[in-house]
Symmetry: D2
Subunit: 334 residues, 4 copies
Amino acid sequence: MSTKIRAGVYGASGYAGQNVVEILLGHPDVELIFATSNTYSGTPIPGSNLAYIPSEEADLSAADVVFLALPHRASAQMAARALAVGVKVIDLSADFRLDTPERYQEWYGAAHPHPELLPVPYGLPEINRANLQHTHLVAVPGCYPTTTLLGLYPLLKAHVLAENAPIIVDAKSGVSGAGREPKPTTHFVEVFGNLSPYNPGRSHRHVGEIEQEIHRINGNVGTLIFTPHLLPVDRGLMASIYVTLKPEFSSDQAQSLFEEVYENEPLVDVLPPGQQATLKHVVRTNRCAISLTPVTSPYLHITSVTDNLRKGAATLAVQSFNLMFELPEFTALL
Amino acid sequence: MSTKIRAGVYGASGYAGQNVVEILLGHPDVELIFATSNTYSGTPIPGSNLAYIPSEEADLSAADVVFLALPHRASAQMAARALAVGVKVIDLSADFRLDTPERYQEWYGAAHPHPELLPVPYGLPEINRANLQHTHLVAVPGCYPTTTLLGLYPLLKAHVLAENAPIIVDAKSGVSGAGREPKPTTHFVEVFGNLSPYNPGRSHRHVGEIEQEIHRINGNVGTLIFTPHLLPVDRGLMASIYVTLKPEFSSDQAQSLFEEVYENEPLVDVLPPGQQATLKHVVRTNRCAISLTPVTSPYLHITSVTDNLRKGAATLAVQSFNLMFELPEFTALL
Amino acid sequence: MSTKIRAGVYGASGYAGQNVVEILLGHPDVELIFATSNTYSGTPIPGSNLAYIPSEEADLSAADVVFLALPHRASAQMAARALAVGVKVIDLSADFRLDTPERYQEWYGAAHPHPELLPVPYGLPEINRANLQHTHLVAVPGCYPTTTLLGLYPLLKAHVLAENAPIIVDAKSGVSGAGREPKPTTHFVEVFGNLSPYNPGRSHRHVGEIEQEIHRINGNVGTLIFTPHLLPVDRGLMASIYVTLKPEFSSDQAQSLFEEVYENEPLVDVLPPGQQATLKHVVRTNRCAISLTPVTSPYLHITSVTDNLRKGAATLAVQSFNLMFELPEFTALL
Amino acid sequence: MSTKIRAGVYGASGYAGQNVVEILLGHPDVELIFATSNTYSGTPIPGSNLAYIPSEEADLSAADVVFLALPHRASAQMAARALAVGVKVIDLSADFRLDTPERYQEWYGAAHPHPELLPVPYGLPEINRANLQHTHLVAVPGCYPTTTLLGLYPLLKAHVLAENAPIIVDAKSGVSGAGREPKPTTHFVEVFGNLSPYNPGRSHRHVGEIEQEIHRINGNVGTLIFTPHLLPVDRGLMASIYVTLKPEFSSDQAQSLFEEVYENEPLVDVLPPGQQATLKHVVRTNRCAISLTPVTSPYLHITSVTDNLRKGAATLAVQSFNLMFELPEFTALL
């Protein structure tokens, strides 16, 4: 008789969904009972004896927990259905990341489908671990917010950022971050040999989410400026962060601050001084790597990298799941 | 008063269409009067003062000639319309490449929309130049057939291929060969780091076209075996050809045979012995490059490369156009 | 008290060596006691507490076995030293793959440094498992031979290849196959967007090795024609094989023959009819995938793919090691 | 009797040198009399009847002008030799970009080989056109400085940058920027799928050059922070620039300022509002493209892109050459 936790994955053939399935298949305490895909239903799931099934054929009530890697809006609706029948939910969409329906309306241009469920704990354990135990619903952060927030967190927590200077994030993401559905912007010929900024300045939807979380930690910081770029690689995300520090804290002190804050975090590596974080440090791993460059005393440059599908999505989902079910947080992730 | 030839391009925003436009904009005897694109209508055309227009807004009757870079079936219909009003046609689709409606039915699974127009001269001047003057309609070959046929032509013409041995073509194409419309198979993430055979053996539609042209030159050859692969590059096509020779012709003689046949062809380079043809030899040029490897006396290996959008499409179209209008064949191409 | 097998790796910072180390670090019966690299000595080895050491500092006699990922000639010398002090050897270089000093002289242009050690069992367990137990020295095959031989083996064993027709192998390899030392041919700018044949026909050194092994299984086959290409990907190898069958065996029968022969081989996947083997099937795995296309009755097209650093190198090395030490063959590889 | 200007190119087989040769071969007023390469001497030069020759075989005194695409220090020595015999010099190395020997010592860690030749006009015509006529020696800027300075120039000239805020440049370059000599960092396997910052903050040698030119235009600006990244593409360079404006100038005014300043510059395109500059806008062209994002009133984000080998090197060299010889500045470049 199996005492494993029965998990289902909705939207399992998308890139984030595939990574959730991949990790769950190696999780000793989980039995994957279904994985849905309307586009690929019937196709075998690598590494398992299952095939994708259409979402309406999934036996929701047989699950203890579901992971939702669905488009926003569809995700909130499925989450509500699952919670209604007592199934816990790890949501990888954007639907529950913003605390209020107003903010959702502002960034996603539509009424929130289930405002009664807000706010929801934000699934970034390194920052928000305390709120992730005994939950029924977790909102897994976006890949840009995760990588950016991990790169800023020690500074925010220590209240050392100058209040009147902007926080500049020049970010670059592999193409899997744009999803598996074919689009003109993800056509091989358009991406190959190219580099493209998109939604620059303050127009990307993740700005709302990053700012919300920044302010939760520390209300007195300057304007967030955030420009993402599409990078000609399949996976990997880099946030290049430029900040101005308060006079009482010199950029030279950042290295030891970061090392201290992340000392016991097995999935965050603070690289030694002089070494630069690159995509190769993290692609196909569950880790975030951070390197620090003191430029002059008030100016600090931070490079934070993750695999957008792992630490920027599926890894966080499984960390949150482990916390939710009171399992060791890093089970299946080390 | 302009005495230039007035040309229009249908399907001008596709990859082949873009290359036709690019060459025509530099052609001293051509005035580009319109370029259609339903998807990108209104978008400016780089290097010109024009914007794409929807095809129904194009003034067909104002043109002396139209280039059709449309999907098959749509192309035949537009060709018939153009010819009916006295406009000459250079067709880059598959619609007029096969000589008979039966063969079209066999390979394209549908009745030919205008069988009364068949057969049509095949626009591969290096092989078929004599039939391309004073025409009203030309069928521009596919990229795989062009590259393969240029690699085989001297051997076919000299009747030195063993009659009972197969002609093996292992071909590799850049992703632009699959067209600009986004598809799962052309998604950056699927192509990056990958190499995929498709329609192997004798199942690709270009088999019918290659065989037809082979047999027009030389009826007594073995089975064509043709396996294309999708290559993680944007443009460029390589046909790796393996043939068996008749006992009276040794592979050592191939180099001088090829050099002789292509001696006066400015767009076909036979590389010196020992040098191998690579994509870099031809990408973004109007040329085909060929290298020869005598393996043993009866076995010859040929590598033939083109830019699939240039010598494999737009370049041929303009060569054919020049011949049709009795201009020097290589105008705008050297 | 550890009862693990103490292993050392020479040439551990090269691409093949890195993969050997990676697998050994996850091997439950192995303790990695050193990993040498003259170029990177002092650099930490990811996933371990070790750093690379210069080869002269390695304590050879403390090892039970050494894996040699050294240049040829250097490898044979180290193998002789190790064997002399009772240390077993898994050699990944070309030094022991050819059975006789004459053949070595022919293909490597130099006298064999230790002819007294020849011949050595060929470390391709799927074909040669019986000879790999209780050995002291194993010659791990090259990546091209492995991928080619696995694609041919069922046909060779069943004696169904036509005797007078060539075996044509059009092969494509990722750049890691060319080694980690920077060379003009592996410069990013030269490889990006390119595809290059090299050592075509019968000039690549692996021809000697492939032919030797073909003939060991089946002496009556035609000429091997082998053209490798450098592919713009980091890892992955595809052998596209074209063969002619004896009249008594039709290409339609190949699927069941291959399925039967590889039925119990966990690292060889024969794909279902109609599916094509691509690099994505195998990259970063320990597996070989094979797909079959019956072209016409006598002509069969086979696509065989491996990760050149895994099943084409390190995986074979560890399979051979497991057999040598009477461990379950696939330990650390599934 | 030819009245063309006789030009020679030293270091002609490097990536920048190749591009100089390519442009000069199409220049109507130039006769290329030699192109040197010690590594590739004897190899034919594509598009010409010449082959590379060793530098000591070049007939320096037969030239009217030489382009130097040599390593720094070697370049200064050759420049001195050329000037001594009355040959004009366009230098693409770093040797003459810094105004004083002290600054050279600071950034290049060595005494300047020919301090008596300093200072030298800086070959960025869009900014420094007036000083480039009737010169005998021009220092062609580096690719990072060019792309950065063109993106900043209108703001510097208008004196609208806040004096106490940093100028942040997050730059990304294709691999050809690192030169043709094979190095571990330019190995295909290391670059493929990766993105790497290097010399971050204020440690890259181009910082000295950018700051010198910024201050020549406008002394009152904040600290330059400059982090370059190695991008997995062959060519193309993007400078992502983040600046803070003086209160009297709003970011909304930047678009018309830039359009005005570059109105008559045929090689600088200011993109319309809302469009983002990408590498595809400029790769294999002679142009710089710039897009502007007003973030909030005081914060402006600028994206400036060039082909590092063209507008970032060879194009500038030929612009400077044209000015030096009183030819129309854009001859051979439009």
